[in-house]
C-alpha cells in the first residue's frame, strides 16, 4: 500500500487511529508520573504502525491477543478509550472493573480477548481461538502480538508447531524492537530474525519495517486473505523500536520526545504524514487538527477515569467464578 489519490481518506483515517494511540499513551504516561496510575506500565509509543496497520484489516469478530504492551492493540481493535483508561487507572468503570489493570486488558465486545503479564502467555491462547474459529467455519481468525523476547520461550515454539500441523487461522505478529526487557536480543539468542523460527515449522513468514504503516498493511492483507482461505497460519515480524524504557520508571522526560528531531525521522506517524503531504493530500493544519482531536479524546478519557469511583471492597470476590 502507498498513499495515492484513491485511498487518501483511508490513510487519513489510519493516521487518525495512530494518533489516538499516541495521545492515549502519552496521557497515561503523565498520569503515571503523577501517581494517578500505579503498578507496572509498558507503553507502545513508536509502535503504532504495527497495531493500526495490522488490526485495521480485521473484522469485529476476529480475535486479538496481546502482551504487556497492548494498550495500542486494544485501541486499534476498537476499544473504548474511556473504559480502557479507567481500567488502567484501576477504576470500577474500567473494562474489567479495575480487576485487571494495564497488563490484563480485556475488551471482549470488540474482540480484544486479553493481554498478559507473562511473556508469550497469550500465544497458546490465540491457538485456541483459531481452533474454535476453524471449527465454527465463519472465516474468523486470531491474531497474537508478542515481542522479540517471547521468541526464546518454549510455548512460542510449541504454538508454532501446533498451528502449522493443524493449519490454524492465526496470524503471529512479532514486534521485534530489539530488546527483551532490559537486554538486547543478541544477548538472548543467536537468531536475529524471529521469522526464521516460523519457517522452521513450515509457516510462511516475512519481516517488514514495523514503522512503515503501508508495509505492515501489505503484509497483513496477504496474511488475512491466506487465513480466511483456510491455508493455515502466517507469521509477520515487524521491526520497530520503543522510544521508552521497558516500563515506566521516570516518564517525565518522555512528554518532550515527540518534539525531538531524530524521533521525527523514525516516527511512524510522521512518516505517514510526510507521505500524505508529499502527495499534496494533506496540510499541516489538518495534521494538527487530527492531533488535537486525539488529545481531546485522551483528555476526555482521563476526566472520565479520574472522576470514576474506585471499585468497592464488596466487589473483591465478585466474578471470581462464573455463575450459571
Amino acid at each position: 500500500m502507498a498513499a495515492n489519490k484513491d485511498n487518501f481518506k483511508e490513510v487519513i483515517e489510519l493516521l487518525r487511529r495512530m494518533w489516538l494511540i499516541r495521545a492515549f499513551e502519552e496521557k497515561v504516561s503523565s498520569l503515571y508520573a503523577e501517581r494517578q496510575i500505579v503498578g507496572l506500565l509498558h507503553l507502545g509509543i513508536g509502535q503504532e504502525a504495527v497495531a493500526v496497520g495490522a488490526l485495521s484489516l480485521l473484522r469485529n469478530d476476529d480475535y486479538v491477543y496481546g502482551g504487556h504492551r497492548s494498550h495500542g492493540h486494544a485501541i486499534a481493535k476498537g476499544a473504548d478509550m474511556n473504559k480502557l483508561m479507567a481500567e488502567i487507572a484501576g477504576r470500577a468503570t474500567g473494562y474489567c472493573g479495575g480487576k485487571g489493570g494495564s497488563m490484563h486488558i480485556v475488551a471482549k465486545e470488540c474482540g480484544f480477548m486479553t493481554a498478559t503479564g507473562v511473556v508469550g502467555g497469550t500465544i497458546p491462547l490465540a491457538l485456541g481461538a483459531a481452533f474454535a474459529s476453524k471449527e465454527r467455519k465463519k472465516g474468523q481468525l486470531a491474531v497474537v502480538f508478542f515481542g522479540d523476547g517471547a521468541g526464546q520461550a518454549g510455548p512460542f515454539h510449541e504454538s508454532l508447531n501446533i498451528a502449522s500441523l493443524w493449519r490454524l487461522p492465526v496470524v503471529f505478529i512479532c514486534e521485534n524492537n530489539g530488546y527483551a526487557e532490559f537486554t538486547p536480543l543478541s544477548a538472548h539468542t543467536k537468531i536475529e530474525r524471529l521469522a526464521q523460527h516460523a519457517k522452521t515449522y513450515g509457516i510462511p513468514a516475512s519481516t517488514v519495517d514495523g514503522n512503515d504503516l503501508f508495509a505492515v498493511r501489505d503484509a497483513m492483507t496477504k496474511a488475512v486473505a491466506s487465513c480466511r482461505a483456510g491455508k493455515g497460519p502466517v507469521f509477520i515480524e515487524c521491526l520497530t523500536h520503543r522510544m521508552r524504557g521497558h516500563y515506566e520508571g521516570d516518564p517525565a522526560k518522555y512528554r518532550e520526545l515527540s518534539q525531538l528531531a531524530e524521533w521525527k525521522k523514525k516516527d511512524p506517524i510522521a512518516r505517514v504524514a510526510r507521505a500524505l503531504k508529499s502527495k499534496k493530500a494533506f496540510t499541516d493544519a489538518q495534521l494538527e487538527a487530527i492531533e488535537m482531536e486525539a488529545r481531546a479524546l485522551a483528555d476526555k478519557a482521563t476526566e472520565f477515569s479520574l472522576a470514576s469511583p474506585w471499585p468497592s471492597e464488596f466487589d473483591v470476590d465478585s466474578q471470581v467464578y462464573a455463575v450459571t
Binding site: N161, T189, I191, T200, Y201, G202
Partner: protein
C-alpha cells in the same frame, strides 16, 4: 558398515548389544507374570545407536536419558542384575528400588538422572554442560532423547541456551518413529511435528546437525566420534538424529516379543511370525551387525553364537538375582528424600 575398531572392540560392542537385547526380552515375561508393574520401554531396535555412540565417550562424561534408558545404561556398562532389581523395585536395584524403570541412574557411569517426563532431561543437560565448562574439567554431556521430545518447548529453550553459551553438549536424538521396512530410512514427516527434517530445529540455533542411519553401527560410531571431538575442541553443541525403524514389539501399549532373538535369525527369519518378519530381516540392527561381522571375517557364526550363549547365561543369572532380591523395608518410604 562396521566401526573402524580392532576386532576385540567390535566383539565387545556385539556382546553389549546382545546384553541389551536379552535383557529387554527378559522383561516382557516378568511383567506379564506380574513380577513388576508400571510402564516400561524397550530399547530393542536401537542397539546399534546406543552401543557404538556411548563407546565414544570418556569415563567421566555426563549422560542423561529418558524412560527408554535400559539400553543406554547397559551400553555404558551398568550391571544387568542391578538394573533388573531396580525395575523390579528391589532393594539391590541401582536406585534401591526408589526409581524403577523410568528413573534408573548410575552416577558412577555418568547417569545422574533419568526423567519420565518427555524432554524433562533436556534442560538438565544444559546444566551439567554449563557446570563442566565452568569447572574446566573437559567433561562433555550427552543428552539422549527421542523424536517426541522435540515437540516440547523445553527443547528449543535448551537449544537456544546451548548455542548462546556454547556448551559442551551433544544432543543425540533417537528417532525410532520410522514405520516400514528397509534400512535406508527415507523421509517421513511426523504427524506431531511440523518441522521437517528434525535437524531444522537445532539448525535454527546454528547448532550443527545431521541425520544418520541409526541402524548402521559404523556410521553411528564415526559420526559420534567426530561430533564428540568437535565438542571437546570447544566448538560448542552438536546435534545428531539417528533414525531407526520401530521395533514391532514396541508398537503396542505394552511391549511384546514377536520373536525371541537368536544369532541364527541373522540368516533365516523363517521362524518369525509373518507380520514382524521384514523387520527382523532388514531393520534389526543387532542382526545386521552380526551379519556384517561374519561377512567381514571378524567372527564366525559359531563365535557369535558363543558370545550370545554367555550373555544368555549372564542375563538368566541376573534375573534370578533380581527376583530374589528383597523389597525395601517400609520405613524406607519415609527416608532418603533430603540429603
Amino acid at each position: 558398515m562396521l566401526p573402524t575398531l580392532p576386532r576385540d572392540h567390535l566383539l565387545e560392542l556385539c556382546r553389549r548389544m546382545f546384553v541389551i537385547r536379552h535383557f529387554e526380552e527378559s522383561l516382557v515375561p516378568l511383567h506379564d507374570k506380574g513380577v513388576f508393574a508400571g510402564h516400561y520401554h524397550l530399547y530393542v531396535g536401537q542397539e546399534a545407536t546406543g552401543v557404538p555412540a556411548l563407546a565414544c565417550l570418556r569415563a567421566d562424561d555426563y549422560l542423561f536419558t529418558t524412560h527408554r534408558n535400559h539400553g543406554h545404561l547397559l551400553a555404558r556398562g551398568a550391571e544387568p542384575k542391578r538394573l533388573f532389581a531396580e525395575i523390579l523395585g528391589r532393594v539391590d536395584g541401582l536406585n534401591k528400588g526408589k526409581g524403577g524403570s523410568f528413573h534408573s541412574v548410575a552416577p558412577s557411569l555418568g547417569f545422574l538422572h533419568s526423567s519420565g517426563v518427555v524432554a524433562g532431561i533436556i534442560p538438565l543437560s544444559t546444566g551439567t554442560a554449563y557446570a563442566a565448562k565452568a569447572q574446566k574439567n573437559g567433561r562433555i554431556t550427552v543428552c539422549l532423547f527421542g523424536d517426541g521430545s522435540l515437540e516440547e518447548g523445553a527443547a528449543p529453550e535448551a537449544f537456544n541456551l546451548a548455542s548462546l553459551l556454547k556448551l559442551p553438549l551433544l544432543f543425540l536424538c533417537e528417532n525410532n518413529g520410522k514405520y516400514g521396512p528397509g534400512r535406508a530410512v527415507a523421509a517421513a514427516q511426523s504427524s506431531s511435528m511440523a518441522a521437517y527434517p528434525l535437524t531444522d530445529l537445532p539448525k535454527a540455533y546454528k547448532i550443527p546437525a545431521q541425520q544418520i542411519d541409526g541402524i548402521d553401527a559404523g556410521v553411528v560410531h564415526a559420526t559420534i566420534s567426530e561430533a564428540v571431538a568437535k565438542i571437546r575442541r570447544g566448538e560448542g553443541p552438536q546435534f545428531v538424529e539417528a533414525q531407526t525403524v520401530r521395533y514391532p514389539g514396541s508398537e503396542t501399549n505394552w511391549p511384546t516379543v514377536p520373536a525371541p532373538t537368536d544369532t541364527a535369525l541373522a540368516w533365516d527369519v523363517g521362524s518369525v511370525p509373518e507380520k514382524a518378519r521384514e523387520w527382523y530381516r532388514s531393520a534389526d540392527p543387532l542382526l545386521v551387525y552380526v551379519r556384517e561381522l561374519v561377512e567381514a571375517s571378524q567372527a564366525t557364526r559359531g563365535e557369535i553364537a558363543a558370545i550370545e550363549l554367555q550373555v544368555r547365561t549372564e542375563i538368566a543369572a541376573a534375573v534370578e538375582f533380581a527376583v530374589n532380591s528383597p523389597f525395601p523395608k517400609l520405613e524406607e518410604a519415609e527416608r532418603g528424600f533430603f540429603a
